[in-house]
Amino acid sequence: MIDRAAAVVCLEQTRFRWPGQSNDLIDIDELTLQAGEHLFVRGASGSGKTTLLNLLAGVHTPTAGVVRLLGTDLAELSASRRDQFRADHIGVIFQQFNLLPYLSTVENVTLACAFSARKRERAAESTEVKTAARNLLSALNLPDSSYDAPVNELSVGQQQRVAVARALIGGPEIIIADEPTSALDTENRDRFLELLFREAEARSCTLVFVSHDPQLAGRFTRSIELRTADDMPGDAADDAVGASP
């Protein structure tokens, strides 16, 4: 029995298509994630992975159906309230270039609090925001010397870990990661995932992780696959989405 009321993420009959398009890019009948669940979303390019993330992040609203996060139907919020919701409750990690080159490592982490008083307060519960950022960076195995250095002196692997720190600071309930390991080699990728899982679990964050790499699926508690529109004419898409065995 799925407890929808307590669900962190709840999609119902969610469809999305760009204006003027004839096919739904996203067509998800039902998807529910509880707190602390780690979902792997696999899909080839063009399968709507990014669109799904934009729907979850509240950047786009579905053409039909519901995207409910933490009990809030995003479609009922105005665009700026959705942005605020994202600022307060979601951490985002991109494929690469997560960091602003003109800010130091610590500033890049505390940046997540720039638009969210909630994150600021939560990060500064027991200490200062900056110290919270340092602690996170330290937990993610980043060397002390890099904290105040320009971020472009960091390796790609380190930069991705700084992005994780930014996504985690202020304790958002949901982490959205868009192919965060695609620029990393195997060794770095494994270490990155390990750290991400560890920190997400420690905070019982719900993680939505998107990748084209099926090898990673085994590490997640659940996984779904998005199919490209070419693969699934019409409503056949329904079958493609759902909880993994």
């Binding site: 605020q84 991109f94 080159p101 003109y102 969210s116």
Partner: protein, 418 residues
């Protein structure tokens, strides 16, 4: 970290192109303010060339021509005014004082003006400032001269020096009144008016050097200076005269009387009105300068627009990151507007600095050369309006990249298009 700090740090990171933009805007602002300053200073300087004189009277000609030769020593009188006519008007009961002037000769490129010592008493310039003899005294004898500040300065003359006056306006030595040298007895303080470039002698002096001249050439009979002094040196004609009235309300009445004088065709002009009219003619140049400066500003703003538009692509990542942490699309627009404001305000400050810097540097030189004391004053309302206009147009211009950034951040969402 607020939006302004992000904007500042981001702008600093891309400073090379932005500094160039700031520089272009600074130059446009400096040009606009500078032209405005020059226009105001030259206007007040021109309008203050002569003051307290109610009428300038000469042989019939256009007002501007009369003004030009009598006040600015530019061009020539079409005709002379006979001494009898001058005396007739000088004795009118409405007339408080007159100063006759006689032009036509020169000394090494400087105009020689014959007049009376009343000139030093009644001539006023600027804000009713009288002429001051800086060094020496007024002329008294026939062959004595008082030099304008520039004449003494440029030709390096001092009290006691003897100068030769050339006949006519060419400074050729063969046409000189070399048999009758003049002694420098006084040098006037700098006025910033054409007085500075004038050699002042008495009317009798002008008469004396011409006693043995006829029809613009030396006559066969030559008289030396001593002999000339024995003659009656009352002039037969003068070039023009300045008039001060007992009652300024009678200005038009006296002007009409002069213009309608039956015995000789005469013109009387109001110096203030004619100066203002003259200013309107030449201020076209200033207006053209102003328009050109305006175009420089437009170019500067377009340069800024180009810079900001070209950075939009490289800032896509930055914008996506900011959106991902919850920045609204309007925050993105604000970021662009803030950057524009930073650039244009920095440009204005640099431009004002440039103008004042140049003003401080140029001030002594301008004072020395023209006698105009460039007042270093706080920006006046016109100049503040100019700056406000610059900032406002910059903000309007930046709405273009702002709208593009807004639409893009809505469309792109969190997709990082690299």
């Amino acid at each position: 970290m607020n939006l302004l700090r992000i904007a500042i740090k981001s702008a600093k990171f891309r400073r090379t192109s932005l500094i160039l933009t700031i520089f272009t805007i600074a130059i446009s602002v400096a040009l606009l303010l500078g032209v405005d300053k020059i226009r105001k200073e030259s206007r007040s300087s021109l309008l203050n060339t002569v003051s307290q004189t109610d009428l300038i009277v000469g042989a019939r000609s256009s007002p501007t021509n009369l003004l030009l030769y009598s006040v600015f020593r530019i061009g020539n009188a079409t005709n002379n005014v006979s001494w009898e006519t001058y005396e007739h008007f000088a004795e009118m009961e409405e007339v408080a004082w007159t100063v006759p002037i006689s032009l036509g000769d020169s000394h090494r490129g400087f105009r020689v003006m014959g007049t009376t010592t009343d000139y030093f008493d009644f001539y006023r310039y600027g804000n009713r400032k009288p002429l001051v003899v800086d060094d020496g005294q007024r002329f008294d004898g026939v062959f004595e001269t008082v030099l304008g500040a520039d004449v003494a300065n440029e030709l390096d003359y001092s009290i006691g020096d003897e100068i030769i006056i050339s006949h006519g306006l060419v400074s050729a030595d063969f046409a000189g009144h070399d048999d009758k040298p003049f002694t420098v007895v006084g040098v006037l303080a700098k006025t910033g008016t054409p007085v500075d470039r004038t050699v002042h002698v008495s009317l009798a002096g002008i008469e004396a050097i011409h006693v043995d001249w006829q029809d613009g050439g030396r006559s066969s009979v030559t008289l030396d200076a001593e002999q000339a002094l024995q003659l009656d040196l009352t002039p037969t004609a003068i070039t023009a005269f300045l008039v001060g009235l007992e009652n300024r309300a009678e200005t038009f009445q006296v002007q009409r009387a002069i213009n309608d004088y039956p015995d000789e065709p005469m013109s009387a002009i109001l110096p203030g009105a004619t100066l203002a009219e003259f200013w309107r003619t030449i201020s076209t140049i200033e207006q053209i300068l102003f328009v050109i400066s305006g175009f420089v500003l437009v170019v500067g703003l377009l340069g800024m627009l180009t810079t900001i538009l070209s950075t939009l692509n490289e800032r896509r990542r930055e914008i996506a990151v900011l959106r991902s942490i919850g920045a609204r699309a309007t925050h993105v627009v604000s970021l662009i507007l803030l950057e524009t404001l930073l650039v244009v305000v920095a440009g204005c400050v640099a431009g004002v600095g440039l103008v004042y810097g140049l003003l401080v540097l140029a001030r002594p030189m301008v004072a020395r050369r023209t006698g105009i004391d460039l007042a270093i004053t706080w920006l006046d309302s016109t100049q503040l309006t100019i700056m406000f206009g610059v900032i406002l147009s910059a903000v309007v211009v930046s709405l273009v990249p702002g709208v593009i950034a807004y639409r893009r951040s809505i469309q792109d969402g969190l997709a990082l298009k690299v």
